[in-house]
Amino acid sequence: MATRRLFLQGAVGTAALAGTPAIGTTLPANHSYKLLAFIDIAHAQGGPFAAAAHAWGARTVALRGDPLALWHDAVLTSAVQPKAILGLTTQGTLFCLERLGWELGLRVRRRIDHLPAPDGTWRHVAHTDLPAWAPGMLAGAGSDFGLAAASSAFNSSGSAGDCTHAAPPPHPHRNSTPLVTWLLAAPDRA
């Protein structure tokens, strides 16, 4: 576990943020909430995502597929309960984190699936509205979409919805691994 965290310390840096559109204005209005980011570092997009999340004040937690022990250490036994958690992981990891999040009253409020094609291109499928600039930014980033994904998930101008139980979009290419960017936060209660 220590080794995974060390990786992230190395990954954190504002240099990676160069070229991000108006990051300052993308901070959620309610920035006092405590943020955590779970990032699967087995995927190249993880580093830039982590750097962005860290720059926004999130505590970053690196994983390789399995989130169970990290959830326990970073969330359940942590002195500060996070108000929101964002991440870039595989869909299977999100499936687990979504359910673990329910125990703390959190729901998946944003979800963007990233689907790789055999020719190296990626398709991005959002389950809630994204900021107007996000689809173009994601599409333009090619396979290097970590930063664009973090910006899209984090941005407060796109509405957060309820993606509870959302089905992953169909993905015909069985030998490739889709990724997903997500935000877990408390639901809006009537």
Binding site: G65, D66, Q91, T93, L100, T164, P168, R174, T177
Partner: protein, 540 residues
């Protein structure tokens, strides 16, 4: 969300008021956005009228509160459905057998009452997960191991009560088999303890499971005779060493001696869970020539497979063997095993996969190849590892068809052919399901599960319809040939129970008689296990 059957909205509100008073306002969930979390994410009837959905959920935090909940439900005639951590994915998730049931979510009852590392047992409440128990043991440096299923977030108790399974030694990986003593709230609200727990002065409820008189514990697994609030479980002493070794066999028929030798080693207590695989299973999707062999009608005579194996030096079968114990003992056991396999299987080869000495450093534990073989709970199965040829959409889920097949190579080959040709006749094209390279799972001691997964979808009802139909036909086909299911989601429990048909379904009729006597109103999980109280039976 649906209301409990036959209950007026006024009485429902009255019942909710009483439940709220019993458990506190924060432990009763009635809003749709909360109750929806108890839907079965792997439901093969997702979003269809047949989907089983709860009316509400209640989360007691003590046996007293469970008793209060059961008494209220009994008064109003409300069916309850108990879950421990409710992660029974593939077998029903946290959804009930009967729509309108109130889920009794026992996650808040998560006390580890005792772990004894001299007598090797633990006593736990329902909400204790494998991970919780593992951490408890690690943090205290206790000298015991747990046996874990693939998903490490499940409940030690919930898994055992659905006859769940793990991956180590035969006496530990049958989780219900290794439980020892229950505390149960009965349908009338009374508390009972079984085994030595039935004697108030005894201190041996975690040691000796029978006590005196009939052994009734089995009635509380895969059934609705009570809500279990405490359970003992036998644990394995922490071994000094773990060896994982592999036997490679190059002819299709080699499965016969491979199984015979492995059975002997396992039943003599020399090895843990045998791990059968065929490297040709994955290879067939990379090499069309092998796929053609696999799908040819004469593949069953094995000739083409043997030729391919010889040409490519690719084993038709491989068997992983786990050894646990003192270094000199496990090394000697492995030498003995090699001699046995070499004698029985000409040309067999042997491989070293992993050698570990305990305790492991955190880094070594993280790097361990197959964590469940050494009792380390994790969720890797849901991550990238679950996305495979057999499970193309892991995040959407699967139904598991798990027929029990006798532990012999001949039976494996017979069942492979039956299910492969059967699915072909059904016109179901799941290329990843069955074929000549399907290997048996050995989770359950002394029996094979020739398991396959059928896809389910939360977005495409057609996928679900096809899988449901296939599942029903597979259950029927298997039963005709004596291959029964050991576990299944609620949707198929009536059918599976019906296949246990000896003497005009005497087993089901006996369970119904008991249910009528103990729980005539169907308060606890009616329909669980494929039998119902008289008032809810179809013919009633």
């Amino acid at each position: 969300m649906p209301l409990p059957p036959h209950l007026s909205p006024q009485l429902w509100q009255e019942a909710l008021t009483r439940l709220r008073a019993a458990v506190g306002p924060d432990a009763l969930f009635t809003a749709d956005e909360d109750v929806t979390l108890y839907r079965d994410a792997y439901s093969p009837v997702w979003g269809e009228p047949e989907e089983r959905q709860a009316s509400a959920a209640v989360a007691p935090n003590s046996t007293d509160q469970v008793q209060a909940v059961v008494r209220i439900a009994h008064h109003f005639g409300i069916p309850l459905f108990p879950i421990a951590t409710g992660r029974n994915l593939g077998y029903g998730g946290s959804a009930p057998n009967l729509s309108g049931s109130v889920i009794v979510d026992l996650k808040r009852m998560n006390r580890i009452i005792e772990v004894d590392d001299k007598r090797h047992f633990a006593i736990v409440e329902p909400g204790v997960s494998y991970f919780d128990l593992y951490r408890h043991i690690q943090e205290r440096g206790l000298d015991v191991w747990i046996d874990v299923p693939d998903p490490g977030w499940g409940s030690v108790m919930g898994n055992a009560l659905d006859h769940g399974v793990g991956h180590t030694w035969s006496s530990y990986r049958d989780h219900f088999g290794s439980h020892c003593g229950l505390e149960v709230v009965l349908p009338n609200g009374e508390v009972m303890r079984t085994g030595m727990g039935a004697m108030s002065s005894a201190k041996t409820s975690g040691d000796f499971r029978y006590g005196f008189g009939p052994y009734v514990d089995g009635l509380f697994a895969q059934a609705g005779f009570g809500i279990v609030t405490r359970m003992g479980i036998h644990l394995m002493p922490r071994p000094e060493c773990f060896l994982h070794r592999r036997v490679l066999a190059y002819r299709r028929q080699d499965i016969v001696p491979l199984v015979e030798v492995a059975n002997k080693l396992e039943d003599a207590g020399l090895v843990g869970m045998p791990l059968y695989e065929s490297p040709m299973f994955g290879a067939q999707f990379a090499d069309k020539a092998l796929r053609d062999i696999a799908t040819a009608s004469d593949v069953w005579n094995g000739n083409a497979i043997d030729r391919y194996a010889a040409e490519k030096t690719m084993p038709a079968w491989q068997l992983g063997l786990s050894f646990y114990g003192p270094a000199e003992v496990v090394e000697a056991s492995w030498r003995h095993a090699q001699a046995q396999f070499a004698k029985a299987i000409p040309g067999a080869k042997f491989e070293t996969i992993e050698t570990l000495r305990f305790p492991l450093s955190p880094q070594a534990e993280e790097e361990a190849l197959h964590k469940v073989l050494i009792g380390v709970p994790n969720l890797n199965i849901f991550a990238i590892g679950a996305r495979s040829a057999t499970n193309p959409e892991p995040a959407d889920g699967h139904l598991l068809f798990s027929p029990m097949v006798a532990r012999s190579g001949e039976e494996v080959m017979k069942a492979q052919r039956l299910f492969t040709e059967g699915m072909r006749e059904m016109g179901t094209d799941f290329p990843m399901s069955y074929g000549p390279f399907t290997a048996p799972f050995t989770w359950m001691p002394r029996i094979f599960a020739l398991t396959t997964g059928l896809p389910v979808s939360r977005s495409d009802p057609k996928v679900n319809q096809r899988s449901r139909e296939t599942m029903r036909k597979l259950i029927e086909l298997g039963a005709r040939h004596g291959y029964g299911e050991y576990r299944t989601p609620p949707l198929f429990q009536d059918q599976v129970m019906g296949t246990y048909d000896f003497n005009d379904n005497a087993l089901r009729r006996f369970c119904e008689t008991l249910k009528d006597a103990v729980d005539p109103k169907g308060i606890i999980a009616p329909g669980r296990g494929g039998f119902w109280p008289r008032a809810m039976r179809k013919e009633a």
